[in-house]
């Protein structure tokens, strides 16, 4: 019962914040349809407004070398530099390249882990979009023995 109350209150707080315009702009901005529809690394990044991505050692992408099951590939991305605005995960050869966009705030460490689907063996990219407009990325090839899309 108490838990239910909490949940309810949480939703009310969220609604109140939204009404007061205190929610960050990103939270209620439209989902980036164009970027998520884009095919290929370059096109997806362009749709997100990133210019000339550069490979950087300060961005790390961790994942398995070989993923047995393409439906669940654990990947983690992080950036060691301050001033990260967004961390983006992309899977190059998926039907839709863009997998996830994390908006980093001051209260969050720029490091995330999640699990993604991969249709086939492909390069996976982690891109850090910086405050100054730079786009830094790390890449890793993950081999997939069983695809996670279609079928």
């Amino acid at each position: 019962m108490r838990r239910r109350m909490m949940l309810k209150r949480g939703a009310e707080v969220a609604a109140a914040l939204a009404a007061a315009g205190l929610w960050p702009a990103g939270a209620h901005a439209a989902w980036a349809q164009q970027a998520f529809d884009a095919k290929g690394f370059a096109e997806a990044l362009k749709a997100l407004g990133a210019r000339t991505p550069q490979e950087s050692k300060d961005v790390t992408l961790t994942g398995p070398d070989i993923a047995e099951n393409g439906a669940v590939v654990p990947v983690a991305c992080a950036c060691a530099l301050p001033g990260v605005k967004r961390l983006v995960l992309l899977v190059d050869k998926n039907p839709n390249t863009l997998a996830a966009v994390f908006d980093v705030s001051d209260a969050i460490e720029p490091q995330f882990a999640t699990r993604v689907k991969m249709a086939q063996t492909s390069n996976v990219y982690a891109v850090a979009l910086m405050d100054d407009g730079q786009a830094l990325f790390a890449q890793k090839e993950i081999k997939v023995t069983l695809g996670g899309c279609g079928g």
Binding site: A14, V91, A100, V101, F102, A107, A113, T114, K117, G150
Partner: protein, 103 residues
């Protein structure tokens, strides 16, 4: 309404590592059913997290995030007893919010 999320928040020094396991089909829109018809996409589009009621993270997801998504992130300046809440909205407009206490 969808099943509850499992959220675990662990204090580590002045940070808290939050692990979230959501319960969602995450249908890509690529698969076909046995009759050869495409199964429409159904996936979580937006995830938000807040600490003690103030938002700290927003994420946008595509169809490539796995079924029953897992997400881990780290909140700065969180201590034991703080409340972490996570919400998601999917492309059908379904939503869910769950809360956990940093331990």
């Amino acid at each position: 309404m969808a099943d509850p999320m499992r959220i675990r928040a662990q204090a580590q020094g002045d940070k808290a590592v939050v692990r979230v396991l959501m319960s969602h089909e995450m249908e890509t829109g690529q698969r076909k059913d046995s009759a050869g018809k495409t199964i429409p996409a159904w996936f979580i589009q937006e995830v938000t997290a807040s600490l003690n009621g103030s938002p700290v993270l927003t994420a946008q997801w595509g169809t490539a995030v796995s079924k029953n998504p897992f997400m881990q992130f780290t909140i700065r300046g969180a201590k034991a007893g703080d409340k972490v809440s996570v919400s998601w909205v999917d492309n059908r407009g379904d939503k869910r919010t769950d809360e956990a206490t940093v331990a």
